[in-house]
Amino acid sequence: MQVFLVLAPVFLFLIVMLAVGFIIQKQSEKDRAVNFSKDYFIGGRSLGGFVLAMTLVATYSSGSSFVGGPGVAWLRGFGWVYLAMTQVLAAFLVMGVMGKKMAVISRKIDAVTVIDVIRVRYQSNVLANIGAVLIVAFFCGTMVAQFISGANLFAAAAGINYTLGLFIFAAVVVAFTSVGGFKAVAITDTICAIFMLVGLGVLTSAILTQGGGMSAIMATLKTQPQMLEPTSGGTIPVRLLISFWMLSGVCTLGLPQSLVRNMSYKNSRSLHQAMIYGTIVVGAMMLGMHFIGVLSRGVLSALPEGGTTDSVMPHLIVTCLSPVMAGIAIIAPLAAAISTVSSLLIAASSSIIKDVYQHSVEQSGAPVNQKTVAKFSVIATAIIGLACIVVALKPPSIIVWINMFAFGGLQTAFFWTFLLGFFWKKANTAGAFLSMVGGVFAYCYSMWAKIPLAGFHQIVVGIGLGLVLFIIGSLIGKPNDEKILKLFFPETYPEGAKIEIPERI
């Protein structure tokens, strides 16, 4: 009975996710017959402000925002909340700086993926293909990691074994994403974000009650004075904080899963609203979840037996809440994982189908058959998803590495490529190539070889070297075609200058 009460809300939630996928598929039939990719990979540029904000934030917030981070906050105290607040930029920066230019240009050149934009801006198939490969590799690594943590949570809550947990949980995500496409991802992300906020509320009130109120909890915390300091007794050095302002603050602008959303919204008003909603929600989630982590120290004084800081949140959910409430609260971290995986899955599939397959068909001069693209896209999405499930069954150690490289690696690859490509006229193919290849290599190598950087995170190397290489390449290499520059920098030409759409390469 206990288990059933916990599981009922979770299963209901998974069924809703599936239903959204199939309903969207039904509704989109007409649009998909005309231009399949535009509907399936970018939702036909129809998102309103609320959904845009929620899908961006839900995709950004992964299982680690709901399990890993709060667990560390339980250990380190208020200093870890302080560090987590660097993420306050994650919603508005990418939309405010890149949002409109990407929307205007992607409409002009009919782009539906971030790689489409790179291909046109830098006129290079080599660069586009490297970008597509990096996206697929890093996204798949992240998906496997999210599957593992989601399945662990689900299995623990349901009292079933890991393998069964993985199949149920992951199969639902793969199913609704492959049939529903981007629009289903955006809608389910929105539902996920709402459940993440509900879980946050339920947990906060439960922990405050269980801990005997704020004063009792604070009295417990005062016995661990380092938990009240911003550096947590020196365990969170200032250099780490500077690194986090890059990794989870400024450089989130370069995450392709965020950038692609800039091409998916309806009009400028949607973007303005999304910037406000997104900032409210990302701040609430990061502040709320990590704050709960600290407060839970008043309820749980030592790690559960045999557990790590990752076991803190699941343990609290099971011990502090009634079965039904536990079922509702456990949805929050599951929703965080689901919303991240679904977005990465549809984007990885777009890289393979739109950026590689469809592009090669167009290149050969053959007409693009919408029905064939449709069939291949759905199959590709399902296959990538299923492959990640199989890998998650018995993850090889390489996956751990790829997942570790993924977040900063994606930023290193795309931060300068997009920022400078849109705002620096001299940015050219040689610069972008050197920066993407050299930066990602340096980032991954320094991480793998554990090169000590005096307390800084490796992102400083990736982004720093990426910038230097970009500038060198751009100054040495030849500038991009005048046609391209007129399209991306019309403000540097007289009013009325002729804007041509560059030929497809």
């Binding site: 302080y82 920066l93 405010g96 890149m98 205007v104 704020m214 911003p230 400028s268 303005h272 804007i499």
Partner: protein
Amino acid sequence: MAKMSYREKFIQMNKEAKATWVVAIILIAFWWIAGFGTAGMDYTLFQMPGWFVLSCFGIWILSIVLVWFLTSKVFQDFSLEDDDTTGKE
């Protein structure tokens, strides 16, 4: 909704991007000053360490206010569609 040429849109978008960076810099500065800047002072707010409440709840509220300001005062409403006829044959 403002009617703009393709070129005018880019001038406006550059302005919006710059203003967004300014907001980001203000937030980062606020975070350091409110956090490390006041951590030495021994004060509490709502029973919690003062530096924590001021910096963490503060940056959240400040970010909402500043982004509201951005989108309502700096950002302009214009068509994203390719409806610009200037320069077309």
